[in-house]
């Protein structure tokens, strides 16, 4: 979303939230809801759980907006909260099956040919924290330092997780798996 990447609207939204302005929550959802949901979904791999995590993140932002020091940094702040919530969700969940195994027969056939499901399946093979690190780096565009703070591990650990995660994904994803799919 263009709003999410422009500093000025981010500042405005943060200010609206801090002022408890009418429509502040709606503006927050409009500007950042999808980005938050992307991160949550990418980490937990479940659409409905991702909606819950996104809702929780938006309300946490509403509640704790005064702790945001730089209004222009609202996006990484939100995505960090989302990632923490998603990791917390994974820690509390019951063990789940492989995403492709969980699909019905028709979808399994599509899973072999549609890249997004292939990517999802490959991501599912990663350990939770490694998947979160990959998500935060490539979907949320957070820096290594920011990721380090989110997951509570050192910069070196984050770099290692990134390197190993990419290596595993390279091994699992064939060239055609990452090509775009017309929608």
């Amino acid at each position: 979303m263009s709003l999410a990447s422009d500093r000025e609207p981010s500042v405005s939204i943060a200010r609206m939230l801090k002022d408890r302005s009418p429509g502040a929550l709606e503006a927050l959802i409009l500007a950042h809801g999808q980005s938050i949901h992307r991160v949550a979904y990418s980490i937990v791999g479940d659409f409905h759980a991702a909606e819950d995590i996104t809702s929780e993140t938006l309300l946490t932002a509403w509640r704790r907006i005064d702790s945001l020091r730089d209004d222009g940094r609202i996006r990484p702040w939100l995505l960090s909260i989302a990632a923490r919530n998603a990791l917390q969700h994974l820690r509390q969940r019951t063990p789940r099956g492989n995403v492709v195994d969980a699909l019905d027969g028709t979808e399994q056939m599509e899973a072999r040919t549609v890249s997004r499901l292939t990517v999802r399946a490959a991501m599912e093979q990663l350990p939770d924290r490694m998947r979160a690190v990959i998500t935060l780096r490539y979907l949320a565009d957070l820096s290594v330092d920011e990721i380090s703070r989110v997951i509570g591990r050192s910069r070196n650990t984050v770099k290692t997780e990134l390197r190993l995660g990419l290596q595993r994904l390279r091994e699992q994803l064939a060239e055609e798996d990452l090509k775009g799919v017309e929608r």
Binding site: R38, T54, L58, L59, W62, Y138, L166, L178
Partner: protein, 195 residues
């Protein structure tokens, strides 16, 4: 170092996540949060006895049947209120709801402290509503579960979990209960107004 693989991975992850676009409105978010709380009423051990303010806000919106506070059309424009509470009175905007610190749900028959406190309900910058005794002394309050405050025509209103206004800013009230270790009043039951 970013290489071609990383760029394509990023694009594929975006396509994957965007296959399920997030389309909840503000009232959906509040309702979903309230539903989670209803499913897990005792599943929030954090912060001791304090329930988060948003729970009160969400419960407030739901208990009043506020439904959509506002909605967003496909172009992103903010629309007006789309529903009202059953009484037909206008739904207060989210911005009019003021978070209060509230207790966890009290099990039926749980013991109560039996002291009482009198004071004037006043606006408090940190807690939303507090009690003033005399000219200066302010007593902070952790309100019963489900309580919240909202901005009314004559100042803040203290509303219970059923959506009933129990007192207004400036009212003199009595609260049963007692102080916790931090000196914060923990009411047992709602306020009684003094005429």
């Amino acid at each position: 170092m970013t290489d071609d693989f990383e760029d394509r991975l990023k694009a594929a992850l975006e396509r994957d996540a965007d296959a399920h676009p997030f389309a909840l409105s503000a009232d959906d978010v509040l309702e979903r949060r309230a539903a989670t709380q209803r499913r897990q009423p005792f599943a929030r051990p954090v912060a001791g006895l304090l329930a988060v303010a948003t729970v009160a806000m969400a419960a407030a919106a739901v208990s009043l049947g506020l439904g959509a506070l506002r909605s967003i059309d496909s172009s992103g424009a903010l629309l007006g209120s789309t529903s009202a509470n059953p009484s037909g009175s206008p739904a207060p905007a989210l911005a009019d709801l003021v978070p209060l610190k509230t207790q966890q749900p009290r099990p039926s028959g749980a013991p109560c402290m039996a002291a009482r406190i009198e004071g004037t309900l006043v606006n408090h910058s940190e807690d939303g509503l507090a009690l003033r005794q005399g000219d200066e002394s302010i007593t902070r309050v952790i309100w019963p579960y489900g309580y919240f405050a909202r901005r009314g025509a004559d100042g803040l209103e203290l509303v219970d979990g059923d959506g009933i206004v129990r007192a207004r800013e400036g009212d003199r009230i009595v609260l049963g209960g007692g102080e916790n270790e931090a000196g914060i009043w923990m009411p047992c039951g709602g306020p009684t107004k003094q005429e």
